[in-house]
């Protein structure tokens, strides 16, 4: 405990010294992140393989590549982001200058998650560094190889007087949360997020919470068979392709019209086979379940006999290997846990509706998800989905790709989160935008001051309307 106090005290001193504020320091740290992931690419692949059975292609695509892209983007833009932004000031205040100047919050805390243990720690770190903060990263203990990697390797590349990794579990997190932070960035579940925000409230610490939700994929009727194939292929990629369903923006369940259910299941099976072979367990291209806890959690979702009955593909489990076969369920009961909790695993329920438009009400009767996916060519339906549902994001005719667009804010709403990041939003989420207004001593606006009289009242009324002509006339009318 005392050690933690000392550590944090030093970080605060480091921030106060102004060390992290210079453009040079920030750029150096960003370059160091790039060097780190370049030098240690194989070590990272190994760690992700160990923690999650992730194939290097997934690891690169979802973790290393993301971090590299973010760091490069930040490096190219940071000078622009740091610059004060001029804002127009009404003529009334002439001569005046108004601007908004971003400044770092100070000492910030980043909670990593276990499913993308490298990128969910380093991508926010890039934002925090760009914004000029001192940082503590608390990686998830459920991904131990990656956590150790971060704890051991980061200090070798980054300025460890300003950037620290603290390992531990729930206890250490609790201890960290007792301290006063200038900002907390959390990725994880709503339950823990609520605890984090409650702790933050004690110190009025602003938070960004990246949560999840049951992200639905709406599959409309697609007249072209090749479009249908592409759509279903993408659905398979969006379910099992990213950490085997253990992703906040992964597809949780699919909504489709009853008449297409057989076609859908057929094509799903076809692509599962194409991607993962007859025996996905041996494919090497699919991540495993993170640990026994989550394995049991998922297993329990299937225990309900009505749920088990609805399995139309897959369903086999291997606890030793923490393996669950890509599983498709058709219309499990809506009151079962599997349709009320975020699945976060390789189980894909298909929910059929009579008319695809019913998807909108279905989604709206549930908490707002982080992402909604809709495969449709119907422009009216697209507009309806956009106008009548609410989610962190909406992607039409594809999955997951919105994650890679730096110009799009990445974050949730309602139960799926608070705040956003990626691209410039990462810089913003770790910055306080300070208003700065400069005025001159002359001219003086006499009507500002008492004693009050009718002239002053008239003047100020006109001023509030920015009625400069009126003001001029008023002043000319006055004969001294």
């Amino acid at each position: 405990m005392v050690e933690l106090e000392n550590s944090l005290g030093k970080l605060r001193q480091c921030f106060r010294s102004g060390r992290t504020r210079s453009l040079a320091w920030r750029k150096n740290q960003l370059r160091a992140v790039l060097k780190l992931i370049h030098d240690k690419e194989d070590v990272i692949f190994e760690a992700l393989q160990q923690d999650l059975g992730k194939h290097p292609v997934e690891s690169y695509r979802d973790e290393i590549g993301v971090v590299k892209k973010s760091a490069n983007y930040a490096l190219s833009n940071i000078k622009k982001w740091m610059a004060p932004k001029k804002q127009p000031v009404p003529l009334l205040f002439f001569p005046s200058k108004g601007e908004v100047l971003p400044e770092p919050y100070g000492v910030v805390l980043i909670f990593g998650s276990w499913n993308f243990p490298i990128s969910v720690a380093l991508d926010p770190l890039i934002g925090a560094i760009s914004a000029g903060n001192a940082v503590v990263i608390k990686p998830s203990e459920q991904a131990p190889a990656c956590s150790s990697f971060l704890a051991n390797i980061l200090p070798l590349y980054l300025d460890d007087s300003a950037i620290k990794v603290i390992l531990g579990g729930a206890n250490e997190s609790e201890q960290l949360l007792r301290h006063k932070w200038d900002k907390i960035f959390f990725t994880g579940s709503p339950r823990v997020a609520s605890q984090v925000m409650t702790a933050a409230a004690k110190h009025l610490t602003p938070v960004t919470l990246e949560l999840g939700g049951k992200c639905p994929a709406i599959l409309d009727s697609l007249s072209s068979p090749s479009d249908m194939k592409v759509a279903v292929k993408r659905i398979v990629g969006g379910k099992w392709g990213a950490c085997n369903g253990q992703a906040c923006i992964g597809i949780d369940y699919v909504l489709v019209e009853d008449k297409f259910k057989s076609t859908l299941i057929e094509i799903l099976q076809k692509f599962i086979k194409k991607f993962y072979g007859e025996n996905p367990r041996k494919s090497g291209s699919i991540s495993r379940i993170i640990n026994k806890n989550h394995f049991e959690r998922l297993q329990n979702l299937l225990k309900d006999p009505l749920v088990a009955d609805s399995i139309v593909h897959g369903g086999s489990l291997d606890e030793e290997a923490l393996y669950i076969e890509p599983t498709i369920l058709l219309n499990p009961p809506l009151n079962a846990d599997i349709m009320n909790e975020e699945i976060f695993g390789p189980l894909l329920p298909i929910i059929t509706v009579d008319n695809i438009r019913e998807s909108v009400d279905f989604i709206n009767s549930r908490p707002k998800p982080l992402a909604i996916y809709a495969f449709t060519k119907d422009e009216t339906f697209k507009r309806q989905i956009l106008a009548e549902t609410s989610s962190g994001s909406v992607t039409f005719n594809d999955v997951l790709v919105q994650f890679l667009c730096d110009a799009l804010p990445f974050g949730g709403v309602g139960q799926s989160g608070i705040g956003r990041y990626h691209g410039k939003y990462s810089f913003d989420t770790f910055s306080h935008e300070k208003t700065v207004m400069q005025r001159a001593f002359f001219p003086e606006l006499e009507p500002r001051y008492p004693p009050w009289n009718d002239f002053k009242l008239k003047f100020i009324r006109l001023a509030y309307d920015f009625d400069y002509l009126g003001i001029l006339l008023l002043m000319l009318n006055l004969k001294r």
Binding site: M197, A387, L408, M437, Y449, W452
Partner: protein, 490 residues
């Protein structure tokens, strides 16, 4: 058309819950989505202000003895302006913002769509009870939300008036006012809101955020702090004094979140500044400042007692160089200046929020910045100087919600500048478009086509795919070509 909610029975958790449910159902009907609905409400607020200007002035006078000019201008005009700006710009604010996409998602198009959060709660304070109720709800309505307003019970005349006027002028199926104190506020805070906007103090701000945390409700907290004004030497002290007075006693007699709390200056300037302040104060408020009608009174006996306690502390009672008179019956305290108060006095350890202005002296004017930074971050900080370098130092070194140089409080009147605090002084910002944004969810939307499907995305994973993936993610066009050629060779 709407009936006034006469709160004859207790507004408890159950009542709050059913009210939120009603509002949510009405919100989900889609009524607030329309531009017309929003503009109608905003126009009605303007009409409400114009029709009832005298009633509002009377209520503010009852609650705070607020001078008519302050009420008319600082509360009513600003409220109307906020509506007028929103009406003027709403079409533009509501438009989706197109954004650039990159090679990674080619072909695609993307935009950011603003959508309302849903049902929001606005809790307003007693010092600008009209403005700080209307200004936030303008943002909430412009962004298409349903709103519940909980005005402060410490300004009861304004609170009652608001409930009457909102009942008459605005759409009660979506906009409500709930009167009450701690019990009613607690009942409201137990509910699940889509956003909570609170203006007030840090103690209650923490309670609001903790309540919001249970439902993962985002919050915007406008708090306060000890807003310092640093005064350099070699400047026009007369103008500086006037602007300090305007930003202290001229705003609700110091009971304003961005009012000048205290002054930091060097010894030689301090004495001259005191003289300038005395001179200008007399010019503004006459010789008998305690009786001036151009100054608000202290809001209630609690705050009166709090402020007199600050004055009567042994450490500071001998430091009064101007004023100090009080009238308990009328809850008045004269504009009071104290010189050289010790940093460990009560008056220097809480937000004063009243007509007492301590002046602290430092060796060199630059030392003020350290003094400011040793405390919690205030909502605003001010500097009076002609020295360019000092200005630059100030802007870099002092962290506050907002800074103004050579003036006070004006930055709050410019709606292109975000108004909000940092750390202890709050989180989030509003005014102008920032109000609209504060009550909106910015939804990311990506449009893709069925063409342009990189096989590299899908398993089974191979080394060739890894190379191509790297090239794609780095945005390297030639890297992509090269890898594709390599891939097809395989």
């Amino acid at each position: 058309m709407g009936s006034v909610e006469k709160e004859t029975k207790v507004f408890d958790s159950e009542a709050a819950s059913s009210m939120v449910k009603e509002l949510r159902d009405e919100f989900l009907s889609g009524k607030t989505r329309s531009y017309e609905w929003r503009v109608t409400q905003l126009k009605n607020i303007i009409k409400m202000c114009e029709d009832h200007e005298q009633d509002i002035i009377k209520a503010l006078h009852s609650d705070l003895a607020k001078p008519e000019l302050e009420s008319s201008l600082y509360e009513i005009s600003i409220s109307k302006n906020a509506c007028a700006l929103a009406i003027k710009k709403l079409k533009h604010w509501m438009k989706p913002e197109k954004v650039k996409t990159s090679l990674i998602s080619f072909p695609s198009s993307a935009e950011i769509v603003s959508e309302p959060l849903g049902v929001v709660l606005v809790i307003s304070p007693w010092n600008y009870p009209f403005l700080l109720s209307i200004d936030p709800i303008v943002g909430a309505i412009a962004a298409g939300n349903a709103v519940v307003l909980k005005p402060s019970e410490i300004a009861p005349a304004t609170s009652s008036l608001l409930i009457k006027l909102v009942g008459e002028y605005l759409d009660n199926s979506l906009i409500r006012v709930v009167e009450g104190a701690v019990a009613e506020t607690s009942a409201l805070l137990e509910q699940k809101w889509d956003k909570i906007f609170y203006t007030g103090n840090g103690r209650v701000g923490r309670i609001v955020m903790a309540a919001a945390a249970k439902h993962l409700t985002p919050v915007l907290l406008e708090l306060g702090g000890k807003c310092p004004a640093v005064v350099d030497s070699g400047i026009n002290l007369k103008v500086a004094a006037r602007r300090i007075i305007a930003g202290k006693w001229g705003c609700n007699n110091g009971q304003t979140c961005v009012a000048v709390d205290h002054i930091l200056t060097t010894k030689d300037v301090a004495l001259k500044l005191v003289d300038a302040l005395k001179h200008e104060l007399e010019g503004f408020y006459g010789k008998n400042q305690l009786e001036s009608k151009d100054l608000s009174r202290i809001v209630n006996s609690n705050h009166f007692a709090r402020l007199t306690k600050l004055l009567d502390e042994d450490k500071v009672s001998g430091k009064i160089v101007h004023g100090g008179e009080r009238d308990k019956a009328n809850l008045k305290i004269a504009p009071t200046i104290l010189l050289d108060v010790p940093q460990d006095s009560l008056i220097m350890n809480e937000e004063i929020f009243g007509p007492l202005l301590p002046i602290l002296t430092v060796e060199k004017v630059e030392n003020s910045f350290d003094v400011i930074n040793s405390g919690t971050k205030p909502l605003a900080a001010y500097l009076f100087t002609d020295n360019k370098k000092l200005k630059e130092q100030f802007v870099m070194a002092v962290s506050a919600g907002g800074l103004a140089i050579n003036d006070t409080i004006m930055h709050a009147a410019v709606d292109t500048l975000p108004f909000g605090g940092v750390q202890e002084s709050g989180m989030g910002a509003y005014h102008g478009k920032f109000s609209f944004d504060a009550f909106s969810h910015k939804k990311a939307v990506l449009y893709r086509s069925f063409a342009g499907d990189a096989p590299v995305r899908y398993p089974p994973y191979t080394n060739g795919k890894l190379t191509l993936m790297k090239a794609l993610l780095s945005g390297s066009f030639f890297g992509v070509i090269y890898a594709l050629i390599g891939l097809s060779k395989n």
